[in-house]
Subunit: 447 residues, 2 copies
Amino acid sequence: MNKTEPRTLSGFMELLPEDQILFNQIKNTIEEIYKLYGFLPLDTPIIELSEVLLAKAGGETEKQIYRFQKGDTDLSLRFDLTVPLAKYVAKNYGNLSFPFRRYQIGKVYRGERTQKGRYREFYQCDIDIIGDEKLDLLNDAELPSIIYSIFSKLDFGEFTICINNRKILTGLFEELELEQKSQEVLRIIDKIAKIGKDTAIKELEKIQIGKEKINKIIEFVEIQGTTDQKLQKLQEMIDIESQSYFKVDNEIFKTGVEELKQVIENIRILGIPDKNFKIDLSIVRGLDYYTGTVYETFLNEHKELGSICSGGRYENLAENYTDKKLPGVGISIGFTRLFYQLKESNLLKIKEKSISKIIIIPMVKDNTKAIKLASDLRNLGVPTQIFLEDKKLKAKLKYADKLNIPYMILIGEDEIKNNFVKVKNMQTGEEIQVELNAKTICENIKF
Amino acid sequence: MNKTEPRTLSGFMELLPEDQILFNQIKNTIEEIYKLYGFLPLDTPIIELSEVLLAKAGGETEKQIYRFQKGDTDLSLRFDLTVPLAKYVAKNYGNLSFPFRRYQIGKVYRGERTQKGRYREFYQCDIDIIGDEKLDLLNDAELPSIIYSIFSKLDFGEFTICINNRKILTGLFEELELEQKSQEVLRIIDKIAKIGKDTAIKELEKIQIGKEKINKIIEFVEIQGTTDQKLQKLQEMIDIESQSYFKVDNEIFKTGVEELKQVIENIRILGIPDKNFKIDLSIVRGLDYYTGTVYETFLNEHKELGSICSGGRYENLAENYTDKKLPGVGISIGFTRLFYQLKESNLLKIKEKSISKIIIIPMVKDNTKAIKLASDLRNLGVPTQIFLEDKKLKAKLKYADKLNIPYMILIGEDEIKNNFVKVKNMQTGEEIQVELNAKTICENIKF
């Protein structure tokens, strides 16, 4: 019979069990924390009508979409979790309570050119808080506290949540009479960390911005100091009385500074230590979606990974589907790529390598006692595997070893006769002898 | 601006939050039990190369496939979790330990004609145990004990796991010299519960089977009695000495009976009560995939739902991809459809209606105390939501009520001044007064 070569598409992650265990552990931790903050689960379809999914999209996104016909229907695979959320909220508006707090963890699809660490199928882990007409600014402070909880718990090393407010830059550009070019300027500032200050200046020159204005922009986004010093400098730019040489008399700018101050204040009330967040006036996050607070998160020792959790405030979630004004704030973790990067950078501290806690290996033909013990251990909630194959002892031990199950129990004639078993800690080699009884075994070992 | 109507494709389940909470709870319970039995997680791509995915498929399956081109590549969405497993095991053979026990819970796609309760995107919850060359029969007994654990825990009402062995029917047909027609006969027997005995007899007559043989077949699949009585009758058909009027002198039949006996024996050792399983000689499960033990599971009071968990033993998982012989045994729950059916039949006993356990409602402008309390409660692991919007009290209370959060804490001037809060049980209306302190609150209420 002809065999088909078993292969997986490039750009699609498919892990071996040991990595999958780890992947799921981290994903579950993220989910648990989303739930701890009272977010409701959502699970929208992966396939949507193209007309619905692409109501807004265009350009780059559209090119990457997996789009196809089935019968007469024009279908697309979702490329993010935000558009499906917008559709969902518009569709179910009357049945939801606002603010609507939802999390969704699911696969999304983008037919990007494959390259190392880029995936065509990847998990996004999103939360959003959607208001009806209005949404209090305090919500913008709650999200960083969720980011803080997640990355403290996951323990990938020190991290910093960078916070900015898009209104500040928008106001600044108005003040500098650069509204016409604000999209282009934002695009350049967005990549300043990547391309460096000098290249950024050159690019700003290229779009015909005067030297003085360029200096002001660069100086502004590079304002140094502690969080409070930065806030003070921003305040001085507004205060008529202050000594600041660079004054901004612009309402949007003022609103942005005021919002940023309040967000920072409440972030502190929520208990995020100062070392885990900072104001970064160069943070922009994409081009036209976000309108207020924006976040990016970096690992202090691994800035090269880029932002590992980003998001922000937007004015209107579902304008393509409804006249209702639905402002929101959200964050997203591109989890598949993050997992790849963390693994490549050796930042994954392996916690559990196995699902089972105990493997039982029968050494006699009559498996009754062994099966009974496995059953009893499971009833006590201990994930237990029993080796049922008729193999040589060596093969049985090798299996137990390869699966990284922490404890092993052999059950042979002696064990059954004396009603005692040895429980072996597979990592230390240590053995303890206990009664052949699920409860006694559980009481005598630490999981 | 033109609005696109926000709609979801028919045949795709998209739930409101309250139902989604329940859906996830049940799905998580299934996953927890799969893990309790030591199955390893797998998460294969939803998109595969058509050549790989359809190596075996044909006929009905192929017609239902979501298949499309992306660039030059011919892609398909997976229609089950078994074919991706076969590919995975063949591909990663050298890196896996056998028996390879894996669970996978994920969405699959079939472009069926939509009708009530039929979904085009649906979750399957699968486990399989794959052996290398051989797989002990004891594994066939372990799976029913997993089915038993799941449906005992989920508490949808009394259920029965029906067990058969395909070899018994195969042997019987050989004995009756019906090998040539065995596929057709199996197909008719497979639906006997649905179409009734009389229609089955008519269909068997239609394919030119003699009256005497038909009687033997019908009589056989309808053998009555307790499990032990059925086993005894099967044994008598083999024993040369016995009084049975219908003797079967066929090796495959004998093997089937022997296997069935062993499986039943070990099911009992694993602690499944007799009332939760039975031998049903008419159970067939599909036509050519399964080769030994087969299972179906029914709710005693709701047989009309059909089998809610099915599976069986197969000889060779991955013959389309590899020369290695990989026998296995597995079960599958078609979860999306099951959820729909259970909900329609009012069998879902709602356990938790909300994610959050406590909602905090600030009654004063300064939210500091309220935010601090929310943060402390979360640090203690209590899912907590805080209402941050500037709304009237009535609107705040309505929100708390609609979300079904079990406890509510109002924090106003008095509470802050006296450092005491009232914790209200939203179901009973009962209030207790405790110190405004997360730990004290947790100690005084039951979640």
